[in-house]
């Protein structure tokens, strides 16, 4: 463990630490962030009344929408001159959220990503290839500093052609890969095209995150690259990567509870759900200086796993994120998550995990189309009959499982929108209302 003192802390000691840090954070946000001060004043909430972790649930939730109103710097809790780094959320759907870091915050952050890497078995002897963008998004720089802190050799490759990345992986003897899971599969197929086999590589481990993925996808990545693949979780608003991570058990992601308090709420009633129940993840930062957040709704769907982990960490675990609240597709009154479609596609042999759901409306009725990329081998068969079989299989499954009539389109490999380390757009909604 990178920081055993905190990762394996006695429950009671950690609760004390969390209460202390929560109370200090509340005092800071009340004093320094006008958004929080007016939020609490309007509701006549006395932050001095928060005396235990249970009291946290009495405080109002915050959303990305709230933070956008503070664009760009209004939600910072320290003067701008104390800020040493600025990141922001992608903002593809509106104004981005701007996230500042003090020197101490950067220190905290790199210790946290070092913890994530170390739990996946990465150490100072590893060559870590980072395919995340070193840009406004937090993936690249977040892991970069953590890997350096461990003393690993970092190879930043974001922005390089994928073929070059594949060559670097082989020639530089990369032992750990950090990217999105989708990009790892993309790299795998490029390696295949380049006639580079896993035996030609020194790769042994991969840390993947920043988009929801499935257990099936993990098997695919492990199979193709002959590595052990680890999931990790984070979001820029909270700190970036480093919020939760898998250990060698790989049964859920340990939340770094010495820095973040996790809750799961029912997204409809906003009530806190008991351990084990699926809902929306809510985080409170308790050590961040520049951009502290109290009860921030992530929009990510997960649950807190009951029980303890054999690895010895006492940090509670969350289940891998299965989707986003706003990804939830409502079609003809039925709820559906893209992750459910993904799981189904995996069960049907020969289908790459790249797909896109297109929602449209015809004469008032919802219409759903699923575009699926096929593997090169499959297309080389050139058998119309087989293609039709596959489509039918998928369609039948959609009807029997979700009562959903969908159009299935098979596309050529790598034709769905995806560049660099970026995410595949899972859902395209063409319905206008």
């Amino acid at each position: 463990m990178y920081s055993r003192e905190y990762e394996a802390m006695e429950r009671e000691d950690r609760e004390q630490l969390q209460v202390e840090r929560l109370q200090m954070t509340l005092r800071q946000v009340y004093k320094n962030v006008s958004f929080f001060r007016s939020l609490y004043d309007e509701r006549r909430i006395d932050i001095e009344g928060v005396k235990s972790l249970e009291d946290l649930s009495r405080l109002p939730l915050t959303t990305r929408e709230d933070l956008r109103k503070s664009y760009p710097y209004e939600a910072f809790a320290v003067p701008l001159r104390d800020i040493v780094r600025i990141h922001s959320t992608s903002g593809t759907s509106g104004i981005p959220v701007v996230v500042g870091y003090t020197k101490t915050d950067l220190n905290t952050w790199s210790s946290l990503t070092a913890r994530v890497l170390s739990a996946a078995g990465v150490d100072g002897n590893d060559l870590v290839q980072i395919a995340f963008n070193y840009s406004q998004s937090t993936g690249g720089l977040g892991f970069h500093y953590g890997a350096e802190k461990l003393g690993a050799s970092v190879i930043p490759v974001a922005g390089e052609e994928v073929i070059k990345q594949a060559r670097i992986m082989k020639d530089y003897r990369t032992s750990a890969l950090i990217s999105t899971p989708g990009y790892a599969l993309h790299l795998a197929s490029v390696l295949e095209e380049q006639k580079i086999t896993p035996e030609d590589l020194n790769l042994r481990v991969g840390l993947f995150g920043s988009e929801p993925w499935s257990e099936n996808m993990r098997h695919q990545i492990e199979e193709k690259l002959k590595i052990k693949a680890y999931d990790n979780y984070g979001l820029s608003e909270i700190i970036g990567p480093g919020v939760a991570f898998e250990c060698s058990e790989r049964r859920g992601l340990h939340v770094s509870e010495d820095h973040f308090i996790v809750e799961v709420i029912d997204p409809e009633t906003l009530k806190v759900l008991p351990e084990g129940e699926v809902g929306e993840l809510v985080f409170t930062t308790i050590t961040k200086q520049a951009f502290p957040l109290i009860r921030y709704r992530t929009g990510d769907i997960s649950r807190i796993l009951p029980g303890s982990c054999p690895c010895g960490r006492t940090l509670r675990r969350i289940e891998r994120v299965s989707g986003r609240i706003d990804d939830m597709i409502i079609i003809d009154g039925r709820n559906l998550f893209p992750s459910q479609i993904e799981a189904l596609l995996f069960e049907i042999e020969g289908v790459e995990p790249h797909f896109q759901i297109i929602l449209d409306r015809q004469e008032g009725l919802g219409r759903i189309e699923i575009q699926v990329e096929m593997t090169p081998d499959f297309f080389s068969f050139d058998e119309v009959r087989r293609v039709e079989d596959f489509k039918e299989k998928i369609q039948n499954q959609l009807i029997s499982r979700f009562g959903l009539h969908a159009k299935i389109t098979l596309t050529e490999p790598r034709t769905l929108g995806r560049t660099g380390g970026d995410k595949v757009r899972r859902v395209v909604d063409l319905r206008e209302d």
């Binding site: 004390q16 202390e20 005092r27 800071q28 005396k51 003067p79 003090t102 101490t104």
Partner: protein, 244 residues
């Protein structure tokens, strides 16, 4: 060692401590820094049992403290070095020190008391030289040594120190704090309340920053020394350095 949860205390209607939570692990030197009037001494006096808390919880070695019973605190292995030394000026150095061992009674207690006295003299050789001098005639630094020595006489595991550097010249402050460091090496746990933030943060494992009755920040000694807000407010750095 010590765990405090949402402690509130004050004098009459005046609420001085507004929900303090902190902890000190065995073998740690922890400091609470803050400006005059932040409530630091009230906090220490509440822990020592001299002020009754209005609400909240203080656990020493896992046991809740009985408020207003400083004697139980001392028997529980906790000793206070009060603000302004509080010596008996017309008693000798030796007499002042012996008084610190009042909780050790009986014949065996007396023998232990004498052993402890030798230990204090070993730690502060100058006190041995001046053992027959009246405490009121000592210099400020020497008086502080007597105050610390007196607290050590009850063989505490846990030492509470209130402003040990108050009124002392910088060089003497350094001496006093190097003694505190030596105590840590003997396995003692220390909680120091201090206005001289820089000197104490250099020797402390961790520190809390206190402002108007609340703790607002926590960190390792070096983290806090490096923190701009701490520098501006407590390390006496020129504000202009940060604004221009």
């Amino acid at each position: 060692m010590l765990r405090i949860r949402s402690l509130e205390a004050g004098y009459g209607k005046l609420k001085v401590l507004k929900g303090i939570s902190l902890h000190v692990k065995a073998g740690e030197i922890v400091t609470i820094i803050g400006a005059n009037g932040a409530g630091k001494s009230t906090l220490l006096n509440t822990i020592a049992g001299l002020v009754k808390p209005a609400s909240g919880e203080i656990l020493l070695q896992g046991n809740p403290l009985e408020p207003g019973r400083p004697d139980l605190m001392v028997r529980g292995g906790c000793a206070l070095v009060p603000e302004g030394r509080q010596l008996y000026p017309s008693l000798t150095v030796r007499e002042n020190l012996i008084l610190g061992g009042y909780s050790l009674s009986g014949r065996r207690g007396r023998r232990r008391s004498l052993d402890n006295l030798e230990e204090v003299y070993r730690l502060f050789p100058v006190l041995k030289e001046r053992r027959n001098q009246l405490a009121g005639t000592l210099s400020g630094g020497e008086q502080q040594m007597v105050a610390i020595g007196r607290a050590l006489m009850s063989e505490p595991d846990f030492l509470l120190m209130d402003e040990p550097s108050m009124g002392l010249a910088p060089l003497i402050v350094r001496d006093i704090f190097s003694v505190v460091k030596a105590l840590k090496d003997q396995g003692k746990t220390v909680l120091i309340v201090e206005q001289n933030a820089r000197a104490v943060l250099e020797i402390a494992h961790r520190g809390y920053v206190m402002e108007t009755g609340s703790l607002i920040m926590e960190g390792t000694g070096s983290d806090l020394l490096d923190n701009n807000e701490v520098k501006r407010a407590y390390l006496g750095r020129d504000y202009k350095e940060f604004t221009d």
